[in-house]
């Protein structure tokens, strides 16, 4: 099998890079550890028991990893505890290690995502020089802008006409989605509080686009979209890369080793296919895109005499600066029937506090959005267990009086890197191939907690202004590690002593090694969802690799 470039991982970054290369005439081989997602066989949203099944189910869709000891919880931050009026508190005295949310499959974690397609706030890329915390990006927003446009047009992003925070050279390809009836109530509440409320920019089709149908507002994107109107990487970048005739995707092919060789070049990449057969080849260029937990694992596990600390780890930075999701959501009952289970998961958003200096005294931004579907409060089972109280006839009466009336406001915020939050290899746990598992270390520091207090306070204020009763449930990441957005373990930077890859996502030392997933982010952004930025970076890196190939520099 001949390929100019081998890409490991077919998630947001790997798929976008594959498309960027294949559409520019380069032959690409993509090795993906997980399977293809087949909605016809696997999606259950048309069945009555749909709510009993989270997507994706089964070990084949997950990578194994472990958690290190979690932080003890401090009564000082009791207001940040997660709780539900029926089910009690979520955690005990120690922070609970729930999940690193990801998908192993063609499309990666975008199979699971809820379609938010955000550009980073330009100032969030200058955290160190402008706000004295975290790190700067080695590129500016302006250098990414045209790649954002490329990604938005390939995916078919639906978004509003104006965005006062992020300059645009071209309008979104599709008009925004109408706010759901419940989202309109949250918008009115924000207006009462002097806050803005705009349509969210979404990788969900508001109109048919390039052969894919428009959305029908089922709200269950995170359970996998059966219509392919959600712009997950498999139905967008992968499909178009394959259509070029220059991209081969091998699913169920798990990369087990990368061998550093002479001349500062990666000599070999090895994988095991679905039948257990081992393969290897000598890549001209190798692009890693396994996500911010598995990419550092693979690099650290690839130590040999040429790279004694692990591949591309000359700076000792591989695995460091891990940034997890800082999130909060409050949910409460509205007196009116709103049919709030309807609509795309996150159609409305408030960006007012997204700039890194928007919250007085707390560097790092946050955003607020609709949260019912993301909190999984959009179906009868979750209403029965988490919303309606009591039992017997009283419970049934509560169901009648509550269904469709929940409003949830969710917030995501900046997570600044700290020295207690990182990925390393677990010396006590190995996978079926004998490779040490990634181990997640996590610590939440005071700035994050103060930001969370702000986020929780505003969520509660918005609900109150919307006329709801007191919250019946709140969920935050102070007492529970549950990350959907993870970044930062192979930071990009201009100084080889403090970063892993350069501004073009190329290893500072290893000349044919590139990383194009969320691990290269120097900062998390103030609540922006990352996939569009990952894709823009990966397209940019792909264009660079193609130029190097053309100049015979690889």
């Amino acid at each position: 099998m001949h390929a100019d470039v081998v890409i490991v991982g077919a998630g947001a970054g790997g798929a976008a890079c594959a498309w960027a290369l294949a559409s520019r005439g380069v032959r690409v081989l993509v090795l993906e550890s997980g399977p293809w997602y087949d909605p016809v066989r696997e999606n259950r949203l048309h069945l009555p028991d749909w709510e009993q099944h989270a997507f994706p189910e089964g070990k084949e869709y997950r990578h194994a990893y472990t958690f290190a000891q979690m932080q003890a919880l401090n009564p000082q931050w009791a207001q940040l505890r997660s709780w539900n009026h029926n089910l009690g508190q979520a955690a005990g005295d120690t922070r609970r290690a729930l999940k690193y949310q990801h998908v192993r499959g063609v499309g990666g974690s975008t199979l699971h995502f809820v379609g938010e397609a955000h550009r980073l706030h330009p100032a969030a890329m200058r955290m160190a020089s402008r706000f004295g915390v975290g790190a700067d990006w080695p590129i500016a927003y302006g250098e990414l802008e045209r790649f954002y446009v490329e990604a938005e047009y390939l995916i078919g992003v639906a978004g509003p006409l104006h965005d006062r925070h992020r300059p645009r050279s071209r309008a979104y390809p599709l008009p925004p989605h109408a706010h759901s009836y419940a989202s309109q109530r949250i918008g009115s509440a924000c207006a009462r509080l002097g806050m803005s409320w705009s349509p969210n920019s979404l990788a969900i089709l508001s109109e048919p686009w390039q052969g894919r149908p428009g959305c029908n507002y089922c709200g269950q994107c995170a359970r996998g979209c059966p219509r392919a109107d959600k712009g997950s990487a498999d139905v967008t970048f992968v499909a178009q890369a394959q259509a070029s005739g220059r991209c081969t995707v091998l699913a169920r092919c798990h990369v087990t080793a990368i061998v550093p060789g002479d001349g500062d070049r990666v000599a070999r990449v090895s994988w095991v296919d679905a039948d257990g057969t081992e393969h290897s080849l000598r890549p001209r260029a190798l692009v890693l895109a396994c996500g911010a937990v598995q990419t550092p694992r693979l690099l650290l596990a690839s130590a040999n005499a040429h790279a004694p600390q692990g591949l591309a780890n000359e700076s000792g930075q591989v695995g460091r600066h891990f940034m997890e999701t800082l999130a909060w959501a409050s949910s409460a009952l509205h007196p009116d029937a709103l049919g709030s289970h309807r609509g795309v998961p996150s159609d409305g958003i408030c960006w007012d506090f997204n700039a890194p200096d928007a919250i007085p005294g707390i560097p790092g931004g946050v955003r607020f959005s609709v949260g019912m579907a993301e909190m999984d409060l959009a179906g009868p089972i979750n209403y029965a267990r988490r919303v309606a109280s009591g039992w017997g006839r009283a419970h049934r009466a509560a169901m009648r009086n509550s269904f469709g009336r929940v409003l949830s406001v969710a917030s995501v915020g900046e997570f600044l890197p700290n020295d207690g939050t990182y990925i390393d290899l677990d010396p006590h746990a190995r996978d079926a191939h004998g490779l040490a598992l990634a181990r997640i270390h996590s610590r939440i520091d005071e700035l994050e907690l103060r930001r969370l207090v702000f986020m929780a306070g505003k969520c509660r204020e918005i609900l109150q202004a919307a006329g709801t009763a007191k919250p019946f449930e709140e969920f935050g990441t102070y007492d529970t590690f549950n990350a959907t957005h993870v970044f930062g373990t192979c930071r990009m930077g201009s100084d080889a002593r403090h970063s892993v890859v350069d501004k073009d996502c190329r290893s500072h030392r290893w000349r044919n090694l590139f990383i194009v997933d969320a691990s290269v982010f120097p900062s998390s952004g103030g609540g922006e969802s990352p996939s569009l930025t990952i894709e823009a970076l990966a397209i940019r890196a792909g264009a660079h690799v193609r130029n190097l190939l053309a100049k015979r520099e690889l």
Partner: protein, 169 residues
Amino acid sequence: MPFTRRQVLTLTGASLLLSLLTWWPRRETPLVPASRPDELSAWIDTLLPAETDFPGAVALGVGERMAAAIAREPAYARLTAAAMGWLAARAREAGGTTFAALPEARRVDIVAAAAASPEGSTPRTFFQATLDDALFHAYADARAWTGLTYAGPPQPIGFPDQAAAPKSG
């Protein structure tokens, strides 16, 4: 007492975040018969009884699914065995031979007593675990959705009327 509420909540699942995974996800349930099907059925029927717009948990087949879950989980089975002892004693006190043989009003009193028992006690823990399980299975059946103004499941129609006020009825 071998069970705390937290242990049973852990047993029946854990909690969620900004992702549409449920707060308290569940275990899978293979088919293994439970030892006291009549008493368990009567208990479940009292937890979620039939009403004009709801067939009742037992009629929805919840009893079989829960019996299977109990038989599969040793910890759940131990809890159930202890709870059945408690239930039999309460039934005798109420003048019956078994819980299932009692009239509905007496069964309701006994479930209410279990719900009001101290946190971590056998009856309270059993009440919490079985109620949560019964709801999980009952509302996975479209017959339980009557009267909720829910036009699900989510696909294949979706909710194209999402921007408008919901239709009543």
